[in-house]
Symmetry: C2
Subunit: 319 residues, 2 copies
């Protein structure tokens, strides 16, 4: 009846996604406090920062300080994001502390590529070819292809699933040229266009085209559909999701001020655990970290569960 997995892998991106969009400034110590608290919840994968130009994203000017100073917890992989050679160089300085892994990052929407990256799709392909070669040179593995705007675009409208398949195929050509093996295809609903049937169509077509590759979903809750979309993905056997505690984040280049951010980690965890899909996360501890995140950013976060409370706490009180 369904391909529901027995467990999923959650990649927590709250620190990176969240602090990138906040007007800030968020003190370095608070960023570290959040990263260290997330590591105590059972989450195993935490993206801690973005090595991005301080001119473009001033809130990550302290990326080096954050990475240098946070205390690692054994068994957890800490990752970072970068977009160009300079970012990679900065990340390489921390290759002992961070798990560095590159991606061939493409966008299914030409219009969004131009808005977000200020280049054409063809230019972006060329940039990714160069970047992948550089990763290989530096010994940084490249195992994933990311497709942004895979379900629709505020600037281009609907995106055909065939366009997503075509974009992945272009990424695989780059991988083949550079001699890297892609194990994972990451589909991002960067601007919140997905609905469950669209998840089913796109994931279905991608899975049919490359049945041996792992699919991961990066969902945004811009229009309130993220949990329903995660549910659709789970039932198609998707076993890896990105999310952010409290629903931190959002796309600074989507042209929607005030819109919600990523799918909340806690709602993803609740959805899974109530269905018997293991996440390894202690939901009540995670909600405490969500409250800490609200305190750090100084405003309520969009997570409903953060304000509604974990079922297990009510179950215990009722028992």
């Amino acid at each position: 009846m369904s391909d529901l997995p027995t467990s999923i892998e959650i990649h927590e991106e709250g620190p990176r996604e969240g602090f990138q969009i906040e007007p800030g400034p968020i003190p370095t110590a608070d960023k570290i406090r959040l990263i260290e608290a997330l590591a105590e919840t059972g989450l195993r994968h935490i993206q801690v920062c973005s090595f991005v130009s301080a001119r473009v994203v001033p809130s990550w000017a302290d990326a080096e300080d954050v990475v240098a100073q946070f205390r690692q917890r054994p068994g957890i992989t800490y990752s970072a994001l970068w977009f160009n050679d300079k970012g990679l160089e900065r990340a390489l300085a921390f290759r002992d502390k961070l798990t560095l892994s590159g991606a061939i990052s493409l966008t299914a929407s030409e219009a969004f590529t131009r808005k977000n990256l200020h280049r054409s799709h063809a230019e972006n392909l060329e940039a990714m070819r160069k970047q992948t070669r550089l990763h290989v040179e530096k010994g940084v593995p490249v195992k994933a292809i990311g497709v942004m705007a895979a379900f629709g675009c505020n600037f281009q409208g609907d995106i055909a699933p065939a366009q997503v398949v075509r974009t992945i195929a272009e990424g695989l050509e780059i991988a083949a040229e550079c001699g890297v093996e892609i194990g994972r295809l990451s589909l991002a609903d960067s601007m919140g266009w997905a609905t469950p049937p669209r998840i089913e169509r796109v994931v279905g077509e991608v899975r049919s085209a490359w049945p041996d590759k792992q699919i991961s979903l990066h969902l945004h809750d811009t229009r309130g559909m993220a949990v329903a979309n995660a549910m659709a993905g789970l039932r198609l056997g998707v076993r890896r999701f990105d999310s952010t505690v409290g629903g931190l984040g959002g796309c600074p280049f989507a042209g929607q001020k005030g819109a919600a951010g990523n799918i909340c980690t806690e709602e993803l965890v609740m959805l899974c655990e109530e269905m018997g899909v293991q996440t390894g996360v202690d939901l009540e501890r995670l909600l405490e970290v969500g409250r800490m995140a609200e305190e750090i950013v100084g405003h309520p976060l969009p997570s409903e569960l953060l304000h509604g409370g974990a079922l297990d706490a009510f179950r215990r009180a009722a028992a």
Copy 2:
């Protein structure tokens, strides 16, 4: 593969649910403004007020003024809620303007019955028996059984689907005694305990027990699951939903200050329309009314779509 309906019936409860929980006071004219604006969106069923004791719910002290003064739009049914004889008497004064319809309102959780109604389940059954007789006497149809806390309870924990079935059976006994025919079973997730698999189990068991009765869902977004739950209901063929514009509302007796309210009408509409399930609602007009509702209550409402914007507007801009 699924029992997805071709269209659904939405019962907008924003005015009634929303203003009941707001600290207020909300001016009568604003309540009327919202009701009249909702009637211009394509919604066909609007619950306009609660005839409840002004001592218990001060924000509905002006129910009579609201009902007397709003302008009706042809083709729309306007309804009201009441909980006892006094409320019914007040509603009867407006039987020409309102579509009066009673329900046998029960709760699957004894603990919630006590918190919410200050009586035992047995006492509530007896009260409903008397109230149903009174409805019959007054010529007010009673066609529905409502079950609150049908998916779980903050005070009692998980609710077994068998308990929901038992509660409905008790309601049907009352209906039989009073000679009324029940066509609809309304399942309410009053405190946001439902998840998609639980919707499937409860709706599945209720549908198996009474295959000829219509099932409607009253969902709350307390823990962010409402849209996913609606999706699960749709796929089981549920064709009637209660909802509130902007996600107004919430349960004042659930003990969760700051928790989200009902499923947002606009997110329900987007989910349906993107799947080809007709709602009759003009989503962009509805979002305008959502913004009016935010202005009236004086704070942001939990709807994400209200802040993310309708896809069609972006589609047109991109074309």
